[in-house]
Amino acid sequence: MKVLEGFEVTKEFREGRAEVVPVLKGVSLALERGEIVSLEGPSGSGKTTLLSILGCILTPSSGRVVVDGEEIDPGRPGQLPAIRRKSIGFVFQQFNLFPSLTALENVEYALNVKGSKGAAARREAERVLEAVDLSDRKDFLPRDLSGGQKQRIAIARALAGTAPILLADEPTANLDSHIGAQVLELFRALAKKEDRALLIVTHDPKVRSIADRVLRIRDGQIAADGLAA
């Protein structure tokens, strides 16, 4: 069952007064529930822009995006936060944890934003922290955790709740290769176990090892779409 679809998605940015820079030139793709897709491409190929559009952070210049059965209306930007809350979990290259909140609170706060409050949010936060094997670090501030532990909290934050789509931007870029491999394996196992679609934007060839499919993007277009080796 498809949970994320893009049809002929284009995105243009305006530089200066007149110059229009096309970043995406008609990208179409689809992700199934439980599917793990690696999105690869050189710098400036449009990976992050595509991730932003699929994650309902940006709207496309043209084309259609359907998230968990709901079509994005570019004329209603106010619709996007609600879709992000309901359907999407993000993992960032820089972790983007709140430095003043403990590991548990970082996860719980994301649940609060998504509408889950009180004891239910606390229980769910504890559940996902346990899933990423960080229960014993739940009261630590991010500054007291290693890079791998921070990324695992970020994964827990993305998993918290029922969002069917997980989007990760270079999740291993700030980790050494050993820790990176561990984090990827954990990510894969949890996405599969919880039947979430996972799209990972990466330069890291190790990501292929956990992906079901690899998309290659070049100059704003899908250059290759095939099964991972």
Binding site: R84, R85, F92, Q93, E105
Partner: protein, 375 residues
């Protein structure tokens, strides 16, 4: 519910201290300046507020209680016969010169009545019997005179307008706006001391109305019978006396300028620290947006942080202001902080901080959540 606003605010303790200090500075400045202003104004009408008269009859256009002009003392007879008037007495308020033992000359503001007890003045007698004032060349002197006259004690003599007068009592809290010490003596004695100006003259008529009397009707009738005088209620007369000093001197303007500057400093400090903090936390706010939060969620965070800074700054500022009261009292000044005044400053602090946070609101509204993908 995780309180990101409070935790984030307290996470950077130095910035929090600077923000709270800025608010506390503004609050202290407002409390002290306005408190001193209210204290001075209180002096301008303290005798009016304590004298138990319902109406005051003054000479035409008398600007305030200290600057009295004379009119015939027999006018009081016409007031006493007005329906609804229970009692009316003449009151002299007159500036007289005092020769001090040092050879220096000072001034005193004399309050002279036939029967002080009936009119609740002086209201705070530390020593002496007011009934003795009629028995000779006697007067009561307020303790605040020590600063101008030097130490004195009942039983000592001072020369008033060249006449040797004995101090037979001491009062407390009777001050004038100009800080001229207030003394109390018998009505006839005051007329004799300054016979050229005061013989058969008075400066005010104090009027006590009968219970249930129609104030407006009595006032109108007195005004009709004394067409060359003014008639005020106690409240009106106190306001007129206070307004004279506010309008004719620079203290009102000075207070407004200081309050404005205090608020400006507070707004600048809070706005600057909140804005810097917002700029440093842009990525965090971007993350809030990326995980589904809207501008409103971030406004709430900033608003709560501003409110916390306001409350903490207000409490610190109020504490400092109250701690200054005994110090200020030592230099014979009053710092008046009423609950209503404190409530206004509290609300003002909150509004000031929320106003300062608005500058950050504009920045937050323009945050692109896509910045979370930038390294």
């Amino acid at each position: 519910m995780v309180d990101l606003a409070t935790k984030s605010l307290l996470h950077d303790r130095l910035r929090f201290v600077i923000t709270v200090s800025g608010v506390a500075f503004a609050v202290t400045l407002v409390f002290v300046q306005v408190g001193l202003f209210l204290g001075l104004l209180d002096n301008a009408s303290v005798t009016i507020d304590h004298i138990s008269a319902d109406l005051w009859v003054t000479s035409r256009n008398t600007p305030n209680v200290d600057f009295a002009h004379t009119f015939p003392e027999t006018s009081v007879q016409r007031v006493r016969s007005v329906p609804g008037v229970a009692r009316a007495d003449n009151l002299i308020v007159w500036f007289m010169t005092v020769n001090l033992p040092s050879g220096a000359q000072e001034g005193t503001l004399v309050y002279a009545l036939d029967d002080f007890r009936r009119w609740n003045i002086p209201w705070n007698v530390e020593s002496g019997d007011l009934d003795d004032l009629k028995r000779g060349q006697y007067f009561f002197l307020d303790g605040s005179a020590v600063k101008r006259y030097g130490p004195f004690a009942p039983g000592e003599y001072r020369e008033i307008l060249g006449q040797r007068m004995k101090i037979i009592g001491r009062t407390k809290d009777a001050r004038s706006f100009t800080t001229t010490p207030i003394s109390f003596m018998d009505f006839d004695r005051a007329q004799k001391l300054s016979s050229q100006q005061l013989t058969n003259r008075t400066t005010y008529i104090l009027v006590k109305l009968a219970p249930g009397a129609d104030v407006a009707a009595a006032r109108a009738e007195i005004a009709r019978r004394l067409p060359y005088n003014d008639v005020y209620t106690r409240k009106e007369w106190a306001t007129r006396s206070r307004n004279y000093w506010v309008q004719s001197t620079g203290i009102g303007l000075n207070m407004y300028i200081t309050v404005f500057l205090g608020c400006l400093v507070g707004i600048v400090v809070v706005a600057q620290t909140l804005y810097t903090s917002t700029m440093e936390h842009l990525k965090e706010f971007g993350t809030v947006k990326a995980i589904g939060g809207g501008n409103l969620d971030i406004y709430r965070i900033l608003g709560k942080q501003a409110a916390i800074a306001a409350v903490a700054g207000f409490l610190l500022g109020a504490l400092m202001s109250f701690a200054m009261r005994p110090v200020i009292a030592k230099i014979d000044l009053k710092l008046i902080i009423t609950p209503q005044f404190a409530a206004i400053v509290f609300v003002g602090s909150i509004l000031m901080c929320l106003g300062a946070a608005m500058i950050s609101f504009r920045k937050v509204a323009s945050i692109d959540p896509a910045l979370v993908f930038r390294g």
